[in-house]
């Protein structure tokens, strides 16, 4: 299935959870926050949140800024 991740198309093998997506992308041990379709999915729920076709996922982190 296709989702949008940080504005880019991504083809995935369903079923897949947010936790699995983060693992695939290399973020399993990183401090990130995640939104799916403009709703924040708390860290504790990443393992139980299953992605759907056309979901818009945003993964953000903290970086330098004023």
């Amino acid at each position: 299935m296709q989702i949008f991740l940080n504005g880019q198309n991504l083809d995935l093998q369903a079923p897949i959870s947010l936790a699995q997506l983060l693992e695939q992308q290399g973020y399993a041990q990183r401090r990130v926050a995640v939104e799916v379709n403009r709703s924040i999915v708390p860290k504790s729920q990443h393992g139980q949140h299953w992605l759907n076709e056309d979901d818009k996922v945003e993964i953000v982190h903290a970086l330098g800024g004023g």
Partner: protein
């Protein structure tokens, strides 16, 4: 005579800080320079931005929070780049999730990309939403004393009027407005944006503000670590001068040596 406590801490949202210099973490050459400058500044509160991760980035790549860990520093996530209420609120909510429920945020809602002046109308709206949602909001605003008063009334934990446009290095442009804001405020007033060099920071503190937040003045100086050290001293000097009570300005002279005992 009242002996002011020169070591009285800065208190924001119930937490005490010894340092009145808050620093940004943008525009540094690399993380090492960020770390060294932040340490030289003696900053305890540092701002960070919230942005998309770079997909495909090496999972082992260092992250800013490795050099500025949340256990050691009070992180102040900002809403830089937000031009409307929705984006600012969304950014703060993501920051809170990112930092495990951390409530302190720097709110900025911009109105113009050239000057980066705040849109104070939208800032008021966003502040109200965020305060109601339980955030401790430190709010970047113009030097308009009425807006500053309204932001405080909404429940912002600190009001942060600009000295001059972000990154401009112009120093305080309207000290009378800042004095007005400072004298009427019951929450900390932190001058944020536009500081250029050490004297600008000292002047801000001499006006009586509670702290100064700066990024470009340090990060874009020729020697950022040295400038950070200068700023630290300037903030301390300005604060002491304010508490010491300066002499008034007079048109004519007032001799420092006695007239009596002249032998000629």
């Amino acid at each position: 005579m009242n002996q002011p406590n020169i070591n009285a801490p800065l208190i924001i949202a119930g937490k005490s800080y010894q340092s009145r210099l808050l620093t940004g973490t943008g525009k540094f050459k690399d993380f090492e320079e960020t770390r060294l400058a932040t340490e030289a500044a003696g900053a305890e509160i540092v701002t960070v931005a919230i942005r998309r991760t770079n997909l495909g980035q090496d999972a082992g790549a260092p992250n800013l929070l490795d050099v500025l860990p949340p256990e050691k520093y009070t992180l102040l996530p900002n809403t830089a780049g937000c031009y409307n209420v929705e984006d600012a609120v969304r950014t703060c909510q993501l920051a809170r999730e990112l930092l495990d429920g951390h409530r302190l945020v720097k709110l900025e809602v911009l109105g113009d990309p050239k000057t980066l002046f705040p849109n104070v109308i939208d800032t008021l709206k966003a502040a109200e939403i965020l305060v109601r949602d339980g955030f401790d909001v430190m709010v970047y605003t113009s030097d308009d004393p009425i807006i500053a008063r309204q932001l405080e009334a909404i429940g912002c934990v600190a009001v942060m009027p600009l000295a001059a446009p972000i990154g401009s290095g112009l120093g305080i442009q309207n000290k009378w407005n800042l004095i007005e804001i400072i004298e009427n405020a019951k929450v900390p007033i932190i001058v944020d944006a536009g500081v250029g060099t050490a004297s600008d920071a000292a002047i801000a503190m001499e006006l009586g503000c509670d702290g100064v937040l700066m990024n470009t003045a340090i990060a874009s100086a020729r020697n950022p670590v040295l400038m950070a050290s200068a700023m630290r001293k300037a903030i301390e000097a300005g604060r002491e001068a304010f508490l010491a009570g300066r002499i008034p300005k007079k048109r004519n002279a007032n001799a420092s040596s006695p007239i009596d005992g002249l032998f000629f």
